[in-house]
């Protein structure tokens, strides 16, 4: 089938614009993750690909063919629903077999394919049970089994791990990546969990309020967020973004932030200066802020310990604060202590305060 593409797709429900002017190309055999907060239109985008929703305007393309008028059953895709949507009156075997039955696959072939899918997913023992007799994790596997049994061109998954406990989620994440490698098919995977996105995706497409914010490989999205939304959505804790003004410092341009000054990456700073902006948004990730008595003065409000690391929340001014991520083996400052923070220029991100877009 090669690529799946959104061409200027908009989907409205009454006054709600669930998907807005969407343009996106999903490569053949790619693992693409649609990431965004709840209600941003991820499921709607996925359902548009599945053929469960029709675009209000624009086209969904499979290869060079517009599939807008092609029914879901003829799109050669499979979908795993968040609720799994297993047929409660059918056994596991019948559930997995169902896509084969509807396509009139001969019985012997059906038996072979179901056995194969069951073996892959470790469901052999459960084939004669009904969904109500399975655990959440087992149901999730049956849903996967029903999806893979027919080997469609693309797999669509809508938050398939969100109903699993944390441990099982980590395990299944790895298994899905492996499944993707073995099947060599396109995966379009929806989640609101950035960790899932970062760990599984070939590329992440980040959405907010129906609109595509950025698309790129996980590392790129992390290192060069296209706007403040992406900057703060990817990464945990989120990137510190504060208002600043540009000034001439010792060696080149610096930013005056509440509490002190920080150096700026020269090229981006020059670009920002050329734009004649009234102020700037300056972003530094918590892991790139150093508590080394540097030039930015702040007061420690709170230290949160997560075991393997600590988050130090510092007040820069009555309105602005920054979070510093400290390794567990670094002794943390005391609450109320005044500390000095440093950021190195290479780790400082600049954004236009009017558009929130990245400045390079």
């Amino acid at each position: 089938m090669s690529r799946i593409a959104f061409r200027d797709v908009t989907k409205r429900f009454g006054d709600v614009v669930a998907v807005r002017d969407f343009n996106l190309e999903i490569e053949d055999q790619e693992f693409l993750v649609l990431l965004g907060p709840s209600g941003c239109g991820k499921s709607t985008a996925l359902r548009l690909v599945a053929g469960l929703e029709e675009p209000t305007s624009g086209e969904i393309m499979f290869g060079d063919v517009a599939v807008t008028d092609v029914e879901a059953k003829n799109r050669d895709i499979a979908m795993v629903f968040q609720s799994y949507a297993l047929y409660p009156h059918m056994t596991v075997r019948r559930n997995i077999e169902f896509p084969l039955r509807t396509r009139k696959i001969p019985r012997a072939e059906r038996v072979r394919l179901v056995a194969e899918a069951a073996r892959w997913l470790g469901l052999e023992e459960l084939l004669e049970r009904r969904p109500s007799e399975l655990s959440g994790g087992q149901r999730q596997r049956v849903a996967l089994g029903r999806a893979i049994v027919r080997r469609p061109q693309a797999f669509l998954m809508d938050e398939p791990l969100s109903n699993l406990d944390a441990k099982l989620r980590v395990k299944t994440r790895a298994e899905l990546v492996e499944l993707h490698r073995q099947l060599s098919r396109t995966f379009v995977y929806v989640t609101h969990d950035q960790v899932e996105a970062m760990t599984m995706a070939d590329r992440i497409a980040i959405m907010n309020e129906g609109a595509l914010q950025q698309i790129g490989p996980p590392q790129q999205v992390y290192e060069r967020p296209a706007n403040t939304f992406v900057a703060q959505f990817i990464g945990s804790p989120p990137m510190n973004v504060v208002r600043a003004t540009v000034a001439h410092g010792g060696d080149g341009l610096v930013a005056n932030v509440p509490g002190g000054t920080i150096p700026l990456p020269p090229a981006a700073a020059a670009a920002a200066a050329a734009m004649n902006l009234d102020g700037l948004l300056v972003g530094v990730r918590p892991e790139h802020l150093l508590l080394d008595g540097g030039p930015v003065k702040a007061t420690v409000r709170l230290v949160e310990s997560l075991g393997h690391e600590r988050h130090v929340i510092c007040d820069l001014s009555p309105e602005e604060f920054a979070i510093v991520r400290l390794p567990a083996d670094v002794p943390p400052p005391a609450k109320g202590e005044t500390v000095g923070l440093t950021a190195t220029a290479e780790h400082v991100h600049l954004f236009d305060p009017n558009t929130t877009l990245r400045i390079d």
Binding site: A72, K73, F81, S83, A85, R103, S132
Partner: protein, 314 residues
């Protein structure tokens, strides 16, 4: 009577754990009695007492004038159960159920499937389809009496216009039961429709969507998703419609009075004729007990399937 309920209630409560709990327990029991009292009184007056009394009446044979009666034990029950009249009336009732239940169910299902579509203005159709639940048996019967009238009725007019012969619906022994069944189907349609529509609305939309993606067309989804998921609801409707059929009286009384040639003399109508026309209280009572047992069995079946509904839940 009151004393009896009082003992029943106290027995039903767990034994007080210690002396100090006795007073609150007693208070609770008294409160329970106050709550249960009205319904106990109603049930006793209108259900338990008549039931026992009916069973008792079946032991007495009335003389032809309905004046004196003698105790005959189970003889009269045996006579009734073996009599031709009873068998014929049972067969008529069975036929009546056969004519009304499957057709009514299929029509109700069809309307419910139509009304379940997400289309503009569907609320209007839902209201229309449900409206027969708000129609009394008497009103419906009179309406159909007019529609079925051999010379003035719309139905015969329609038949003649399209080249068929007029039918004497309620007077022709071959057509009377189908005509009464038609009325009954119409009368039950609102109920069937509402129950099935409610059943349809409990089926998660994602099952349909999943089936679409799995390659199922509309017909396949109907048979593989909708009907299996609806089966507890359909069984419920079948049992209730069957019980209704066995209990029908009003439309028969208004449309045919059991005639012609007893062709619409269903069980309840036969009980009525024996008891209130022929003053054969004992015979009517024995038939009543038979009807009670039939409906009891149907009700037990219904309870079983209502329990099975739970099975589909997670």
């Amino acid at each position: 009577m009151d004393d009896m309920s009082a003992t029943e209630v106290t027995i039903a409560l767990p034994k007080p754990a210690g002396r100090w709990r006795a007073r609150p327990r007693l208070k609770e029991a008294a409160f329970a009695l106050v709550l249960l009292g009205p319904s106990m009184a109603l049930f006793s007056t209108f259900a338990f007492y008549p039931l026992v009394k009916t069973f008792y009446l079946g032991f007495f044979r009335s003389d032809p004038f309905g004046l004196s009666s003698n105790y005959v034990g189970f003889d009269q029950y045996l006579d009734v159960l073996q009599s031709n009249e009873f068998h014929r009336s049972l067969i008529t009732t069975g036929l009546f159920a056969l004519f009304t239940v499957p057709t009514g169910l299929v029509l109700g299902l069809g309307l419910a499937l139509l009304a379940h579509q997400k289309l503009r203005g569907m609320v209007v159709y839902r209201t229309i389809f449900s409206s027969t639940v708000a129609t009394s048996v008497a009103v419906a019967s009179v309406m159909w009496l007019t529609l079925l009238n051999p010379s003035l009725g719309v139905i015969n007019y329609g038949l003649e216009e399209s080249g068929f012969e007029a039918v004497n619906w309620l007077g022709d022994p071959d057509w009377a039961l189908p005509a009464v069944s038609l009325t009954t189907i119409w009368l039950n349609l609102g109920f069937t429709f509402i129950v099935i529509l409610a059943g349809l609305q409990t089926i998660p939309e994602e099952l349909h969507e999943s089936a679409k993606i799995d390659g199922a067309g509309a017909v396949s989804r109907l048979f593989n998703v909708t009907l299996p998921m609806l089966s507890p609801t359909l069984l419920f409707a079948v049992v209730v419609l069957t019980i209704n059929a066995f209990q029908s009286f009003g439309q028969i009384d208004i449309l045919t009075q059991g005639g012609p040639l007893d062709r619409t003399n269903v069980l309840v109508y036969s009980i009525y004729t024996e008891g209130f026309r022929n003053f054969n209280e004992g015979v009517a009572a024995a038939q009543g007990v038979a009807l009670f047992l039939i409906v009891l069995v149907l009700t037990l079946i219904q309870f079983r399937f209502l329990e099975r509904r739970v099975f589909y839940g997670n």
